[in-house]
Symmetry: C2
Subunit: 417 residues, 2 copies
């Protein structure tokens, strides 16, 4: 067993070990990294009973129930999924040392821009233990050391997983460090470790993300919150609109790319509002609406929307509905209230669609498709670390390439200025 | 005169105006932006006497002298340089709405990754008033609103320049906002304006950069500090090494890409240390050194280097010198002490060079060339906003492309999950 994840070391010692591991990880060849990923997949499979026992103990101590318990739960199948994820990452192209640009200056200097690992990546996450394996896979493939700080409820499962992954022969000491989940001190120490840690990625609820953003001295990739909109325009194919709205709202309401708000063009509101409200209610959705929509849906169970409703990410079967004057008003409403994650227009008018795609200031903007496609896998990236809702470094679903930086390697023959 | 830079508005009002201007700026065509840049160049030339008068008044009030006064000083020639800079940016390619990638998924979804403006860019800088015009040029070309917070000494010059630039017909209200330089409150308000401002770029000394990094809630592109190294290896062409060391140290010692430290391979130290120390002293450089080098340079005026010397960015004619065991020790020393800006090896050994280029963890790593080339102009970018020493978003000299973000525009035909 590697010493990297055993108890006893302080957060500071773990961060220093990760820092020291980074240059060794940067020198691993693609073949070496892929072999380690495959060995990790095998190690997880072999230790499944052990992992399940640790998870059972977490579940018993957690006092969680329902959806929260399900997030924490590991099963034989979910362990298989983790192993499959590790193998899939082994099969993806290695972005490290990719040459992004190369040119020669008139003075003969040869400039080459190459991708390099970031160094040390810090991940702060909540209950789902599969994030441990997924994050280790992406960090290792990109030659980064990783410092993990999981949720308290999953402490035993994460400890077991990190130990198993770090113990794979050939994994450099310090490549995988797991911080104490019992106290917020370890979070604070991690996000303030400027110079030791190169990026912090918080994966979790709005409260966690705000805490990290407000207190971090290390650059952050902000992920997550999605107050996603669908605008049904005039003209629009109502059947397509129904399919997209129902899918985006109900297929998996607890995730960040689920739709939370529906805007309807006033020209079609008389027909479309009662139609979609009825369907939403049939699908078990609580519908809230502005005054105009409520009048159009008279007789249906629609609650009044409060100003707060336009800001809120429900993450459950609830949707607020509003009538707007047209594509300009829809764009303005979205740019004011959305979290800049994913927003969609359903329209048969190409000009409206182009305007919406260009002017809605969100990471992913859709024309005639569900917002649920904002996902690294659905985009064909083969993996995902999260969905960035910030504009710096990367925006939208991100995975391997976004866990790298660049450097310039410049070759001369004695040039001076 | 546009109202955007007139006195009286609070920082909060100015930030809101910039936020409102951002979508209008994003919609300007390349032709419109270039026409505005050319008109700005003309406006600056036409108002030269006016700008010089404001600058004269700043100089009289500043109480500065020597190099500091020179940084603040504007001349007819420097005003010409600003106008030329605006025209050069007009001539550069427009990165906005460039398609970076485009692909179709098996389900028929068409995904397009396009460059978009960041939105609102905040620049915090010190005495040089030309930063005002340069920053406005780069922000406008990339469709961003800009919020400027210059130094107190240059307040009058910056106010005049910003007024002239914002008053050019066609510049949207709020596109150029200048904050009150008289108090640090405006800096604090700017860097905490999360949601209004998309990126903060501090351009200045180490103290300013630390203050911004430690207090900003807005993502930062850290620029600047350069504790740059040159390692003279065995085998190396001594004449080339002399040229590079003298150029990197003395050609312009006050800038971030000037060399501050010299490492010499122990095999050549007996010959090379006294040789280069003599030349450095002839060029007016104060030389500090480790014990071994001091012995080798016996009889020459060499001061002992303290541990602090290995960390310090002198920004003046001072250099510390150390003998190392070889390329590995040089790399380790640099990765421990450098600011990850620019570091160089002088060697005739290709294997050593490759190792150094790959393993030195700095934005720009040189083989047989002066560190002084780390510069947007020298790299052929045609402009420069600064040199990033962080790993997120951009690293090394950055200009237009780095003032953009990306978004995904996704087109479907009713796809759902």
């Amino acid at each position: 067993m590697a010493t990297t994840v055993t108890a006893g070391a302080s957060t500071g010692e773990k961060l220093l070990r990760a820092r020291d591991a980074a240059p060794r990880l940067a020198q691993l060849s693609t073949e070496q990294k892929n072999a380690l990923l495959l060995a990790m997949a095998g190690a997880i499979e072999a230790a499944a009973p052990n992992i399940l026992a640790a998870n059972q103990s977490d579940l018993e101590n957690s006092g969680l129930s329902g959806a929260m318990q399900d997030r924490l739960l590991l099963t034989a199948e979910r362990i298989q999924d983790m192993a499959r994820g590790l193998r899939e990452v082994a099969g993806l192209p290695d972005p490290v040392y990719e040459i992004l640009a190369e040119w020669t200056r008139p003075n003969g200097l040869r400039i080459r821009k190459v991708r390099v690992p970031l160094g040390v990546v810090g991940i702060i996450y909540e209950s789902r233990p599969n994030v441990t394996a997924d994050s280790v896979a992406l960090a290792l493939k990109t030659g980064n050391a990783i410092v993990l700080r999981g949720g308290k409820e999953a402490a035993g499962s994460n400890q077991r997983l990190a130990e198993i992954l770090a113990a794979v022969p050939g994994v450099p000491e310090g490549a995988i460090e797991l911080l104490d989940a019992g106290t917020r001190d370890s979070v604070r120490e991690l996000i303030q470790a400027r110079g030791l840690v190169d990026v912090i990625i918080p994966r979790g609820g709005a409260e966690l993300i705000s805490f990290v953003v407000e207190n971090s001295l290390v650059p952050v990739i902000e992920t997550g919150a999605g107050n996603c909109h669908i605008f049904v325009d005039d003209p629009a194919d109502f059947e397509m609109a129904d399919r997209i709205v129902i899918n985006a709202k109900t297929q998996r309401p607890s995730v960040c790319n689920a739709a939370e708000k529906l805007l309807v063009h006033e020209n079609i509101a008389v027909q479309y509002v009662p139609r979609i409200v009825k369907k939403l209610i049939e699908h078990g959705v609580e519908v809230r609406a502005d005054e105009r929509s409520r009048q159009l849906a008279a007789g249906l169970d629609v609650h009044p929307a409060s100003p707060q409703d336009w800001e809120e990410e429900y993450l459950r079967l609830c949707m607020s509905l509003k009538v707007v004057g047209g594509v300009e008003e829809a764009i303005a409403h979205i740019n004011r209230h959305s979290t800049k994650h994913s927003d969609a227009i359903v329209t048969a008018d190409q000009e409206h669609a182009q305007k919406f795609l260009r002017q809605v200031d969100s990471a992913c903007v859709y024309w005639n498709a569900s917002t649920r496609f904002t996902d690294g896998g659905e985009f064909g990236m083969g993996a995902e670390m999260g969905v960035s809702t910030q504009k710096l470094h990367c925006r939208g679903p991100f995975a391997l390439a976004e866990l790298t930086s660049t450097k310039y390697e410049i070759t001369g023959s004695g040039q001076t200025r």
